[in-house]
């Protein structure tokens, strides 16, 4: 159930390093599932925080896409009671009145009535009205985060839902700056956000991927080969709205990337994850353009090679020449060297007492032949 990801977020940051960051990327074809994945991760994380198992003491949700009540309701359904919610979750509501228009209208209508009737300040929901001001957003988040109670170091985590909506009001550098500052803020334990990749130029979600330590892509289960956009094939659409692939890339500290694959689907009111059946991962051929064969020898191979007795008369160690003729007969003292010399190219002879490793085995084709006869086998032919 996206556990690896939630575990990383739960463990939080190590001393002297930046906080881990998760980027959840969705696309238009599986939009509700991506949103569901975000809700699931937030709820799972909140339950860990409530149970005291996480480094953070609380979670601050910056809600752009949905009303804060949706989050609270989802978490309640996942088993968090009101008490725990009040203790561990704060929501910065950028959904109800992001640019402060409603308040302006209110103030115009009730001139003189300075009561802020709009701030439904429940315990844990704070309305935020100036989303264009990213610096103010940063300070609001840190303010909310500092307000969690508990012992130990004051850590809190941040969830941003979603960056795509933030990008309507602010620029990429300012939001990247906000995320980087949050990551390096000493009280932030972990941070995760959601972005819809196809709503922006391709370089924008990649820019946010650069800032993250984990990337989770929610991809449609079936891709309509004809045309991804027009609702030609309803069954594909239906499938894509109920199932999706959840692909996670974890960037490890040694620079290697771990890939995890899961399926996610909607069941009733809830989101469930399933470990994926065997996924065929092709070897990325472009990664390895030219791999050489290793022609070098290891120490063992080198010593083995030195031990092999070569099929020349001269072994170079001053011993008398012994030539093995394949019939296990006693070694003769001397044979005609002239006979053996030309045949050496074809016949490989091995010493009777071969050394332990370096041996060349040769088995004669037939034992009927006279040894070393210099008969031309073609002599039999009558031409």
């Amino acid at each position: 159930m996206a556990e690896a990801v939630v575990r990383c977020l739960r463990d939080g940051r190590l001393d002297g390093e930046h906080a881990p960051a998760l980027a959840v990327e969705g696309s238009l074809q599986c939009c509700p599932l991506a949103a569901g994945a975000m809700l699931h991760i937030a709820a799972a994380f909140a339950s860990l925080v409530a149970a005291g198992k996480a480094q953070a003491r609380g979670l601050v949700v910056v809600a752009f896409d949905r009303s804060p009540l949706v989050y609270l309701e989802f978490m309640r359904r996942r088993g968090l009671d009101t008490n725990a919610l009040d203790r561990c979750v704060r929501i910065l509501d950028c959904y109800s009145d992001p640019l402060g228009w409603k308040q302006k209208i209110q103030n115009q209508q009730h001139q003189g009535n300075s009561a802020k009737q709009f701030s439904t300040n429940k315990e844990n929901i704070t309305v935020y009205r100036s989303v264009k001001d990213v610096t103010k957003l940063m300070s609001s988040i840190t303010e909310l985060g500092g307000g969690f109670e508990g012992e130990g170091k004051k850590y809190f985590s941040v969830a941003v839902d979603s960056i795509s909506s933030m990008l309507r009001h602010a620029s990429v550098p300012s939001i990247s700056g906000l995320l980087t500052n949050l990551r390096s803020h000493e009280q932030v334990s972990s941070i995760f956000w959601m972005i819809h990749s196809d709503l922006h130029e391709p370089k924008v979600p990649r820019a946010f991927e650069c800032l993250s330590t984990m990337v989770a892509c929610v991809e449609p289960a079936l891709v309509d080969p004809v045309c991804g956009e027009s609702p030609g094939n309803l069954s594909v659409l239906e499938q894509n709205y109920s199932k999706a692939k959840f692909i996670v890339r974890l960037k490890r500290r040694n620079g290697r990337v771990k890939h995890l694959y899961e399926d996610l689907y909607i069941e009733g009111n809830d989101i469930k994850f399933d470990s994926a059946p065997s996924v065929s991962i092709e070897v990325n051929q472009s990664l390895v353009p030219k791999a050489q064969f290793n022609l070098e020898l290891s120490e063992k191979e080198r010593s083995d090679r030195a031990n092999v007795v070569l099929p020349f008369e001269h072994q170079g160690n001053g011993e008398p020449i012994r030539i093995y003729d394949g019939r296990r007969s006693l070694p003769e003292a001397q044979h005609d060297l002239s006979l053996t010399a030309p045949a050496l190219v074809d016949e490989i002879k091995a010493p009777k007492s071969g050394t332990a490793k370096g041996e060349i085995h040769y088995f004669r084709d037939s034992d009927d032949e006279q040894p070393d006869s210099d008969e031309d086998p073609d002599d039999d032919l009558d031409i």
């Binding site: 620029s171 990429v172 550098p173 300012s174 990247s176 700056g177 995320l179 980087t180 390096s184 130029e201 391709p202 370089k203 990649r206 820019a207 946010f208 991927e209 650069c210 800032l211 890339r249 960037k251 490890r252 040694n254 620079g255 290697r256 990337v257 771990k258 890939h259 991962i281 092709e282 070897v283 990664l287 390895v288 353009p289 030219k290 791999a291 050489q292 064969f293 290793n294 022609l295 070098e296 290891s298 120490e299 063992k300 191979e301």
Partner: protein, 373 residues
């Protein structure tokens, strides 16, 4: 023609006449004179120097394309900066961070020469002296002598050790080396435009003019993550390209090297191509997947690899001969988890038992001369 380990890089029968061809091979500290009037400084990684044909060319701009998934560009940058500090070369560092000075604290220290390193060096020297003994045994026609690489290898062994050092990535550089040094740090995160950085660079480079003698101090410029998304000038594409062009012009007429790393995925395709085209030497980092069985079967030594390094372009000066590399993809490994080693990719034996990878640190150097085909 038998060449020791691919040393035909950049060799032609025309070479610019320098005053003392052999004795002034090593000019100022850390500068090596090469053929065609080229001067090199070390990149901090001996393997990379060898692959690039001597090191980073003075007067060139080296660009490193970062991979979003792996932080290895920082390793290359750190070795480059440490090498400059060790050789007491002036350094200008700029990064997309609030406090660039803090990055200096992560620079690695030189590897303390231990017995084993001494043995490796002795092996290397022995191989080269064998080669020279063979040379004397054979009578080589004089015109081929120039293909035999660094003849001064054995004589100037001490100097060569100084030109390029191994760095221990686990130990930080000594404080006193950093304090007594000409190091400038500039932050580009909060800058609205790159003109501030451009002024810093031009002030820095005006102190390092290039003269023909080639024995003046060499300077280094290191810029990290030039187009990082959190920089305020991030969306001004043309401004960034103009900055690189002006930096390239300034560096070309001065005695220094600039190394710029940038996350290439963050730029649009057309601008990424422009940036790549502006580089004199272009390297890129690629992350490798973890626990990938297919890659493990394909390559030896997969467990030790931390990433791939592609060499796309190598700078060449005063010559029409391009640099053609034997292998453009190399694997990054950490030898004993502390120093960075680049190796060629070797295919694993097909029967499944992983073949033993070469025990020596660099695959093509010391033993390579004995296995020439």
């Amino acid at each position: 023609m038998a060449a020791a380990g691919g040393r035909t890089l950049g060799r032609s029968s025309f070479s610019r006449a320098t005053s003392n061809p052999v004795t002034s091979s090593y000019g100022a500290a850390g500068v090596k004179i090469g053929p065609n009037g080229a001067a090199f400084v070390s990149s901090g990684i001996p393997d990379l120097d060898r692959i690039l044909g001597g090191g980073f060319l003075l007067g060139s701009v080296v660009m490193i394309m970062e991979d979003a998934d792996a932080p290895h560009h920082l390793l290359l940058l750190r070795c480059f900066m440490s090498q400059g500090v060790v050789h007491k070369q002036p350094l200008l560092f700029s990064g997309a961070m609030k406090e660039p000075r803090l990055f200096l604290g992560t620079l690695p220290a030189q590897v303390s020469s231990s017995k084993e390193d001494g043995r490796h060096r002795a092996m290397g020297a022995a191989a080269s002296s064998d080669g020279r003994a063979n040379d004397e045994g054979l009578r080589i026609a004089w015109q081929y002598k120039k293909y035999f690489g660094d003849d001064s290898r054995a004589e100037h062994k001490d100097n060569k050790q100084e030109f390029s050092n191994d760095f221990d990535l686990r130990k930080p550089l000594e404080r006193h080396l950093l304090n007594g040094q000409n190091i400038e740090c500039v932050s580009i995160q909060d800058a609205d435009s790159l003109s501030g950085l451009q002024d810093c660079c031009s002030a820095f480079l005006s102190k390092l003019p290039r003269k023909d003698a080639g024995s003046l101090t060499a300077g280094r410029i290191a810029i990290q993550s030039l187009c990082a998304p959190q920089c305020r000038y991030f969306e001004k594409d043309w401004d960034m390209v103009s900055f690189i062009r002006s930096l390239k012009a300034m560096v070309r007429s001065s005695n220094s090297v600039a190394v710029i790393t940038f996350p290439s995925t963050v730029l649009s395709n057309s601008f990424c191509k422009r940036w790549q085209h502006l580089a004199d030497t272009l390297l890129s980092i690629k992350a490798i997947p973890d626990e990938d069985k297919d890659l493990a079967k394909l390559l030896t030594g997969y467990q030790d690899m931390v990433g791939f390094l592609h060499v796309h372009k190598v700078a060449q000066t005063n010559s029409q001969v391009p640099v053609i590399l034997e292998a453009s993809t190399l694997s990054l490994k950490l030898r004993k988890r502390r120093s960075l080693v680049l190796e060629r990719l070797n295919q694993a034996p097909v029967d499944g038992s992983s073949g033993p990878s070469s025990a020596a640190s660099s695959s093509c150097s010391s033993q390579g001369s004995q296995l020439d085909f």
